[in-house]
Structures are given as structure tokens and as C-alpha cells.
């Protein structure tokens, strides 16, 4: 029994769980992690990473179709869907092995099976019909989330896909309906559009990428429509009629207008729900709100010794948020001094569509709604030398400052490589710089990052290159 007792047991090995486990082990705690499927969770097996591999193929394909603009030529540019998918799966596999290695290196015990809380400090793990008990002083729940199902619009794995089937297509469907225009929906829409599908996006809210700043949303929509995507906002899919190899969707466009659309495949991307079931939460008194475990700012569930992190604990549903919570949680268990809870305003969000979208902090509207008097700076890609040289002149960097204090409230970017750029503003926010430090920072020339400087300068009427 003693060998099955740990200081910390983590349930779920996604980017929240495995990071929490490694950090706890680094701090000298004995740690086990329980995984029912694949190490690394959805993120690196079925989410963030494999989609980036797909999108990279799409990007290269896109460039190959526009070689003439760069003075190059190649005939008969084609793709092989099976090879694209295989590359994506190989990438995921490689990282999956990487997580196994990291856990081993940090002496984290990996237990395969399905876990359920079985009383105070006790977990039952079931695998292949056999079960064992594991005792834990602290339990970190990190079981993640799965795609939300809508009545009548359930995914079937063949015609109506979730992210999972969308990631491993046998062929690129000639036409596609994407329901939901959040990051997941838009990334798939962008991938399939670039690969040649006829893509229609339906979004129930009034704009695409609805969590982003309204100006960024508008620019994104414009770019997608220019690529040939059809976008319906303020609309909803009310029914799906599944045929042999096609689906006819009934789309309520609002204002009493109903449209019938027949497509080869449908991707459902209407949010996620936490994996709260069959965990034994009720038995130990862990509270579930809607589909997520209720936690305080320290990821504590209210039941001593039981924590929840990542998607399971609620939005924003982002891997880096889960990882950061995992670290805070592990350090809190180990008694590390001087911790702060995760600062929600400092969590960046990235969408890898074409053009890319990245942001951190408050949108202009949210800042105003919170009573800030704001100063807003904007700088277009068209004014940046590097962007012009790259041939990527669509995009904008927008910054929102508190007019009184100079606090950087938010930064919103759309255009090439912005997902790699946003961290600059994240550091600025974490260090609590004001506009002054950003203005005095020397940005290298020629880079896209110069736009980040210019946007700040613009907010204070000092922009140079526009």
C-alpha cells in the first residue's frame, strides 16, 4: 500500500496535468499521473500541435500557389491529403514521446487507466478490467474538456465532424460548413479553405472570433471573405439532414430568413464541456458548476487537498492557461512563498488562421465598459518594411492604454506571425510597463515587431512611419 501513496496525484496528462506533475516533482514531492488515453492530452495529440502541422502544410501550399509574386515558378502544384495528415500525426507522436520522457526524467510515476475519486485522499484506477487504489495527500484534477454537442447537431464521425475527425480527413471535402467561429472553428475553416474547400462559417454572435477586439474581428472577416469564405454572423444552424455523402443544413440567418445549404461535411466547433463525469466528484463533495469544476483563484475546489486546473476548471480554454495553473497549483501545494494567482488579463490568445490573430488583455470595448478612459494606437502592416518584403501587407497592431495611468490594458494583432509577436506585450503587461518603457524600448529593424512599437507611439500621437 505504501508504494501506492504519493504527495501529489494528477488525474489527466494534458498540458495542465503533466506540467503540474513535473513541477511538483521538481519541488521534491512524490508524484503520480493517471492517464486514460495518451500522454499529452488533447493539446498535443488532437489539438494545438497537430493543427499547427496541418496549417503549416496549408501555408506552404498557399505560397506555392502564389509563387509568381516572388518571381518563382513551379508547375502542377498538388497536395496529398494522406501525407499531410500523416505529417500531422507524426508531429503529435513525437511530442507524445517527449512528454513520456519528461515525466520519466522527473521521476513521475505514470499510471494508465481511468481514475475516480474514492474518498478522502483515495483514487481508484481501473485499467483492462482490473482496479487498484492509489493514495494521495493532494489530488490535482486535470481531465480537460471535449467538444460540446448540440441536440440535433451531434457529431457522427463521418459526415458531421468534431475537431478530432476534422484533423484526420481521408480527403479534402469539396464543401464544408463550419458551425462556430471561435479559434477552433476558424482554424479549420482557414485550413480547408486554403486547401480548396468551399467553406461556409455560421456564427451565432454578431462577428467572427467574437472574443477578439471588434476591429480585429472585422479585419479577419474581410480577409476570410476575400479568400472566398462565406460567413454568416448572427445566424444559427437549426437542423442537419444527413444524406449518403452529404449534409443539408438549415441555417437561420436571422430576421426570419432561412437558408438551406448542402455541403459534403460539417465541422461542429461550438465550444467545449469539461470532463466532469465518472470522476467521483459528487462522492467527495467537489462542486460542479454547469460543466466545470468550481474553483477559487488558487484552483482549490473547496475540498481540502483537491484541486482542479485547466479546461476542467473553466475558461479561457487555453493550454498555456492550464500549464500556468498547473505550476501555481504545484507550487502552492509545496508551500512556495510569494505566489500570485493567475492574472486573467495577462493570458494571451492565439488563432492560427490566415492571417493570424493574437491578443492579450482587454479589448477597446471591454476597457471602456470597465470605466477606463482609453488611448488607442493602431499600426497597419502596410506601413512596415518587413511586412512589405514578406508580401504580407494585410494586418494591424492595435494597442489600448489607460489614458490616465499609461497602463497597457490590451494588445490586439492580426497579420503574419502575430502569434509569435504577442509575447512582447505579455512581458510588458507582466512587468507592468507603461507606454513610456515601451516607447523607450529599441525594436530591431527590419522586423514585424517594429509595428508593436509604432502602435504604442500612435496611441500617444508620436507615430513615425504612418
Amino acid at each position: 500500500m505504501a508504494e501506492n501513496t504519493y504527495d501529489v496525484v494528477v488525474i489527466g496528462s494534458g498540458p495542465g496535468g503533466y506540467v503540474a506533475a513535473i513541477r511538483a516533482a521538481q519541488l521534491g514531492l512524490s508524484v503520480a499521473i493517471i492517464e486514460r488515453d495518451q500522454l499529452g492530452g488533447v493539446c498535443l495529440n488532437w489539438g494545438c500541435i497537430p493543427t499547427k502541422a496541418l496549417l503549416r502544410s496549408a501555408e506552404v501550399f498557399h505560397l506555392a500557389q502564389h509563387l509568381d509574386a516572388f518571381g518563382l515558378a513551379a508547375d502542377n502544384v498538388r497536395f496529398d491529403a494522406a501525407k499531410i495528415v500523416k505529417r500531422s500525426r507524426d508531429v503529435a507522436k513525437r511530442l507524445n514521446g517527449g512528454v513520456a520522457h519528461l515525466l520519466k526524467k522527473n521521476k513521475v510515476t505514470v499510471i494508465e487507466g481511468v481514475a475516480a475519486l474514492a474518498g478522502k485522499g483515495k483514487i481508484t484506477v481501473t485499467a483492462k478490467g482490473k482496479s487498484q487504489d492509489v493514495a494521495a495527500k493532494n489530488i490535482i484534477l486535470a481531465t480537460g474538456a471535449r467538444a460540446r454537442q448540440m441536440p440535433g447537431l451531434e457529431t457522427d464521425g463521418k459526415l458531421v465532424w468534431s475537431y478530432r475527425e476534422a484533423m484526420i480527413p481521408e480527403a479534402i471535402p469539396p464543401s464544408l460548413l463550419v458551425v462556430g467561429s471561435g479559434a477552433i472553428g476558424i482554424e479549420f475553416a482557414s485550413f480547408y479553405r486554403t486547401m480548396g474547400s468551399d467553406v461556409t462559417v455560421v456564427e451565432v454572435l454578431d462577428r467572427v472570433l467574437p472574443v477578439e477586439d471588434a476591429e480585429i474581428s472585422a479585419l479577419a472577416r474581410k480577409a476570410f471573405e476575400k479568400q472566398g469564405m462565406k460567413i454568416h454572423t448572427g445566424a444559427s444552424v437549426t437542423g442537419l439532414e444527413r444524406g449518403a455523402d452529404k449534409v443539408t443544413a438549415k441555417i437561420d440567418l436571422g430576421g426570419g430568413k432561412i437558408e438551406q445549404l448542402t455541403v459534403a461535411r460539417v465541422i461542429m466547433a461550438v465550444g467545449i464541456v469539461g470532463n466532469v463525469e465518472n470522476l467521483g466528484l459528487e462522492g467527495v463533495g467537489v462542486k460542479v458548476e454547469k460543466t466545470h469544476v468550481a474553483v477559487n483563484e488558487w484552483c482549490e475546489t473547496g475540498v481540502p487537498g483537491i484541486y482542479a486546473i485547466g479546461d476542467l476548471a473553466g475558461p479561457p480554454w487555453l493550454a498555456h492557461k492550464a500549464s500556468h495553473e498547473g505550476v501555481i497549483c504545484a507550487e502552492r501545494i509545496a508551500g512556495v512563498k510569494g505566489l500570485h494567482p493567475l492574472a486573467a488579463g495577462n493570458v494571451p490568445g492565439c488563432t492560427y488562421c490566415m492571417p493570424q490573430v493574437a491578443s492579450v488583455g482587454l479589448t477597446e470595448a471591454a476597457a471602456k465598459a470597465r470605466g477606463h478612459e482609453v488611448r488607442v494606437g493602431r499600426f497597419p502592416f502596410a506601413g512596415n518594411g518587413k511586412a512589405i518584403a514578406l508580401g504580407d501587407t494585410d494586418g494591424m497592431v492595435k494597442t489600448v492604454f489607460d489614458a490616465k495611468t499609461g497602463e497597457l490594458l490590451g494588445a490586439h494583432m492580426i497579420g503574419a506571425e502575430v502569434t509569435e509577436l504577442i509575447q512582447g506585450y505579455c512581458i510588458a503587461k507582466t512587468l507592468e510597463t507603461t507606454e513610456s518603457e515601451l516607447m523607450h524600448t529599441i525594436f530591431p529593424h527590419p522586423t514585424l515587431s517594429e509595428m508593436m512599437h509604432e502602435s504604442v507611439l500612435d496611441a500617444y500621437g508620436k507615430v513615425i512611419h504612418f
Partner: protein, 428 residues
Amino acid sequence: MITITMPALSPTMEEGKLAKWLVKEGDAVSAGDIIAEIETDKATMEYECIDDGVVGRLLVSEGQEAIKINAPIALLLEAGEDKAALASFIPAAAPAVVAARPVAAAAPAAVTPVAMQAAPQQTSAPGSKPGGRIIASPLARRLASQKGLDLARITGSGPHGRIIKRDLEGVQPMAAAAPVAAAAAKPAANELALFPEGSYEIVAHTAMRKTIARRLTESKSTIPHFYLSIDCDLEALMDMREKLNAQTPKGDGGYKLSVNDFIIRASALALRRVPEAHASWTDAGLLRHKHADVGVAVSIEGGLITPIIRHADSKGLAEISNTMRDLAERARVRKLKPNEYEGGTFSISNLGMFGIRDFSAVINPPHSMILAVGAGEQRPVVRNGALAIATLMSCTLSCDHRVVDGVLGAQFLNVFRGFIEKPLTMLL
């Protein structure tokens, strides 16, 4: 454009009052011109410009109090600049280019080693490091300056104690930072409510008053005080004093010894004899002092000040007496330099001349002891089983228990009494 900032005129100065502008906007100034008088908690000093230029703008008005050191107070236009340059000045940015220097601070030996050691202890506060630099995020700095918060009093919760925005939440601005007029017009309402309107007049706190309030509150609330009293027979001392005073030379080298001069010398010698008691508590460790720098409280208009006789243990009575007279006179007209009243290792408060028989005093940090001296008076005593008359002086020693325990304080007092009652031993 050059920004002239509030100078730090002494190691303990945190803020000052702009007592008087000696220049006005548009005046041409050159290096060496006196441009303002700055009043600190203890003294008024002249402020000397170290650049040439034209006064572009005075950023603080005459009489403005509680100006933090390094806060901009004026803008100086350099040759060739016109008034348009002033527009680029952003108050909060405060590029601390010191373009003027205090006249007094230019005097040699501005700070003694003791004062230097004492300074960090006095100003040491949660947010500041021993070196005096406050670690704070740029945003926290700006918010603090906008809200009038003193970062030195705020505990940082960021990495390595860095003060971040959230640490400022709920912190109230310091009363001292509020404009005087507002403070005088609207003091703490709940206390005022206790008195009928018209039954009082409100006197604004002077810088000295505020310093006394702050330092003594800090002393009484952070130093564990205890008190030891002893009576000293003054007969031999009075006799010796009379004989010495009768032999004072005319003109140079003349003296007129007071009882207090003997007390200063006796204290200094006792400190040397009982070195364990001659120390200061600091977080870094106990400071064992090597020289007896004895402060003597001098009452001046609006408060008091404690000028210091440096190395009193190696000064003779005549030198002590004359030094003390000079310091006391200059203290009353507020002409002491900071190095003449800051630091010290021990202090004496004597209320004997007001007929006070005995009292206890509040320790003056960074000292660990203060001697409260009462009046020398004839009292009945019992000697060899019979009543007799003696001239006695009651002394009460306040001790910082962190440094001085009861027995140690008693040892010091007994050695002190030995010198007072056998004054000839002070010659040894």
C-alpha cells in the same frame, strides 16, 4: 531643458518644503546662484543652481510642503531653447536631472559615519532595500505618484519584493502628501466632531512637528522601552564647578561650566566604560559604537532639536561647554547643518531648570538609551541612621530592551553616578 528636482539635503530627508523662491520665471540664472530656500524637517537651506539657463517654469509654489525628494520643482531652459520646449515636460516621467545642489551639503564632512549607518535604519521600510532603492514596477511607480502614495511604506509582493500594481490597492495616501490648505480645512472629521465648532483654531503642522510626531511614534511603538532611576549626590560636583568657573581665563579659552556639561562628560565616559550599552539595534546586527556622540535636546520654537557633541568622551569640560553653547544658540535660530543633529549614539534630556524632579524620556532612534535629568535640589536623606540634607539630582534612563538589559542599564547608571558624585575621576 533641465529639470531641477527637490534635493536630498540630508540622509534622512524624505520630503521638504519650498520655503521661498529667489527667482521667478524668465529670470536668467547662472551656476552658483541661489534659487530657492528649502525647509526640511529641521533646517532651512539655500539651494544653489549648478547650471546656466533661464527659469522656464516653477513647478511648485512657494510654501508648498511635503515635496518628495527628486520630484521636479522647476524647469530650466538651456541656451537656444525657447518656451515651446516646456510643453514636452511630462510630470510623471520625472527625469531626475539634478541641476542644483544644496549649499549646506557642499560643506565638508556633511555626514559622519554614524549618521550614515543610522540612515538606512531610519528610512528602512517594507519596500526599500538596504541600498535605498525601491523596487517597483513602472506602473506601480506612476500610480503611486498620481495618488500620492509613498512606495517606501508599501510591501511588494512581486518577485524579490517588487512592488506591483495590486500592492497599491487599498493603500491610503499619506496625510502629509495632501496639500496643506486642504489638510487644514478638512482634518479628520471624526475627531473634529468631538469639539463644538468655533471652540478651537486649527494650527497646521510644521515640518518639524510632523517629524517629531513620526519619529517618536515610531520609537514608542517599535522600541521596547524600560526605565531605571537613580539619585546622584551633587555636592562634590557643585563644589568643583564653582572652583573651575572661578578660574576661567579672560577672553579666549574662557568657559562657564553648567551642571549639564558635567552630565554630558560623565555620560560619554560611562558609555566608554560600559561599551555593551553603547550600541544601536539594526536588522543587520548590533552596532557597537566606538565614539560617544552625545545628543542634547534643545527646546526651540515649535519643537525641539537634538544637536550632537561628537566624540564627547575625548573632549574636556571647557570644550564640551563651549561647543554646546554654540550648538544651542544656532539651533534656536535654525541654523544647524544636518550633520550637527543627525545620528549620535546617546542622548540627554534635561528639564532640571524647569524644576522637574524626575521624568522619563522617549528614546531617540537610532540610540538605545536616553537619560532624563531632573532638577538638582536639597532633599532630606538618611545617613548613618540620621536625617541629613543633601543636594540630589534624579536621573531616569530609558533603555531599548533589545540592546540593553536591566543589569546592563543599571551598570551604566552606576558608573555614571560614580563620575557625577566623584567628579575628579572625570579627569582620569
